[in-house]
């Protein structure tokens, strides 16, 4: 059962970000301070009232929650932190909603700050990726003994299986990064803004085949933050609240692989015809996929957008390749996706930049890339978690 009691009980009161860049040469703590201050200012909230924090990507690339509390002189009643992965964005917001509903904190800053340029040994694959070498395998299917390393390699394994199982092609997959780059061209905060064609995508080098360079997201520096509070408290702040109507938690188990829905048949998953059924996030929010005005997803690799669409029933397994063609997921199309430019082109802030964009879209603050009349926006991921926001 979805947590119906929490429907519309929590809201985002403020959203903010630092600058994003390939090599800002600033510390993750410094970037986090910008994002937190911007989110507080957006909410019109004094920093003394911030009493909770959840961080989803800490050191050595990011800044840990306890460090931030000390250095920024915050008095937190409650904080927590996930281990360093991008998959916990919705989880953090859901836990913040629970904290607020349970009276453990009144205003919870949810964020990640990353400074990849300050890192001596790359963590995204290779010898610096210590988690990839953990007992029983890495999070993304890593097995460095055979040279299997980096999150993108696990996504490439999924992409190959998708192509083989459903007869889809890399040329069709180009529609994802091409669309998100078009969106980034309308976003002055985005790091990569030069549009490219499907042909450019095909001509870009392979990193881990069948994925091309342009199927890979950015590695960059920046921080983004949202402030979760109760719907009642949010009403008294500077900007209109963005309510959280639906929540679907992050699943784990033998049938789950981070980049593929159950039944897909990678890692130790079974093979069966996946049926999205009625995902709990829609039941809780009282809406369905057709009511979604814009969809945001964790697009670390382009194939993940197809997996998310199929996981949440926007189309059936194998249909996302066709579904995403001809501008349907572009601004002005039937289902605009990642209108900020996504991890692929705006910035890779572990999905927090997407949450900031969702808030701004629902307030109508997005200028040339505003989704006209946006009222209901969903965050939904290949790995199965989701949030539905509305004004």
């Amino acid at each position: 059962m979805p947590p119906f009691d929490l429907k519309d009980r929590a809201a985002i009161a403020g959203a903010g970000a630092s600058a994003y860049g390939r090599r800002l040469m600033r510390s993750a703590i410094d970037l986090a301070a910008d994002a937190i201050a911007a989110a507080l200012d957006d909410a019109g909230l004094a920093r003394e009232r911030l009493d909770g924090m959840i961080v989803t990507f800490g050191s050595p690339i990011g800044a840990d929650a306890d460090t931030l509390a000390q250095v920024l002189n915050l008095k937190l009643r409650a904080y927590n932190q996930t281990w360093a992965h991008g998959r916990f964005t919705a989880s953090a917001i859901q836990w913040a909603a629970l904290m607020v509903a349970g009276g453990m904190a009144d205003y919870v800053a949810c964020l990640a700050s990353v400074s990849f340029s300050g890192l001596r040994r790359p963590m995204m694959g290779g010898a610096g990726n210590s988690e990839g070498a953990r007992e029983a395998g890495g999070s993304h299917g890593e097995d460095p003994v055979f040279g299997m390393t980096s999150p993108g390699a696990g996504a490439a394994l999924v992409a190959r299986r998708y192509f083989e199982r459903f007869g889809a092609t890399s040329a069709q997959l180009a529609a994802i990064p091409v669309a998100f780059r078009k969106h980034a061209a309308l976003n002055s905060a985005a790091i990569m803004r030069e549009p490219f064609s499907a042909g450019d995508h095909q001509a870009s080098r392979f990193v881990c085949e069948p994925l091309h360079l342009l199927d890979y997201c950015l590695i960059n520096d920046g921080a983004a933050c949202v402030i979760v509070t109760s719907a009642e408290r949010a009403r008294d702040l500077r900007k209109p609240p963005v309510h959280i109507a639906g929540m679907q938690p992050l699943p784990a188990g033998r049938e789950e692989f981070i980049w593929a829905y159950p039944g897909f048949g990678v890692a130790q998953q079974s093979v069966f015809d996946y049926d999205a059924g009625a995902p709990p996030v829609y039941k809780m929010a009282g809406v369905g996929p057709r009511d979604i005005d814009a969809l945001f997803t964790y697009d670390a690799f382009s194939i993940l957008a197809w997996m998310a669409l199929e996981r949440f029933g926007f189309c059936k397994p194998g249909e996302a390749a066709g579904f995403t063609q001809d501008g349907r997921i572009e601004l002005g199309g039937a289902l605009p996706m990642n209108v900020n430019g996504g991890l692929l082109s705006e910035a890779h802030i572990m999905g927090w930049n997407h949450q900031v964009e969702i808030v701004r879209q629902l307030r109508g603050e997005c200028g040339p890339r505003q989704v006209a009349g946006a009222e209901v926006i969903q965050w939904a991921n290949a790995y199965g978690d989701s949030l539905i926001y509305h004004r």
């Binding site: 694959g125 290779g126 010898a127 003994v145 040279g147 394994l157 392979f206």
Partner: protein, 143 residues
């Protein structure tokens, strides 16, 4: 050709008390999987109990060494110095006849010739003096 342990430049497996029998068996040129004495399930990676029925009555028993290519990738970028000379190299996910899937390298087949469903068999690769890896090659006589 077994190399000196110190010359082995690729990442080594994370060998634990749990999965040591798997790696010790490879040294004997045997591919083994755990098997449940209650329900008969076979699985990978190593677990302290049967993932299906949670029985602790489990044992390591030989696997057929035969399987099919489930999915595969080709690395065009090097992340480890030990793999530099092999770029582009393949990593395949092989589904064994017993059901579990292993990540491995396919040998004796060009990257462009790998196909989903291709029948493969295990090859014991003595990578270092103290390390044997289960790699796979197209199965002789298979369609």
């Amino acid at each position: 050709m077994a190399a000196n342990q110190d010359d082995y430049a690729k990442p080594r497996p994370a060998i634990s008390a749990l999965n040591r029998p798997y790696w010790d068996a490879l040294r004997r040129r045997e591919l083994v999987l755990q098997r449940c004495g209650e329900c008969g399930m076979r699985w990978y990676p190593a677990a302290p109990l049967c993932p299906r029925c949670w029985s602790r009555r489990i044992e390591w028993t030989p696997a057929s060494g035969r399987g099919r290519v489930n999915s595969w990738v080709v690395f065009h970028q090097s992340y480890f110095r030990g793999f530099d000379a092999e770029i582009p190299y393949n990593v395949a996910e092989v589904e064994l006849e017993e059901g579990p899937r292993l990540l491995t390298n396919l040998i004796g087949v060009g990257a462009g010739e790998i196909r989903a469903g291709m029948e493969v068999e295990v090859v014991f690769d003595d990578a270092a003096a103290d390390l044997t890896l289960a790699k796979f090659r197209p199965r002789r006589g298979a369609a």
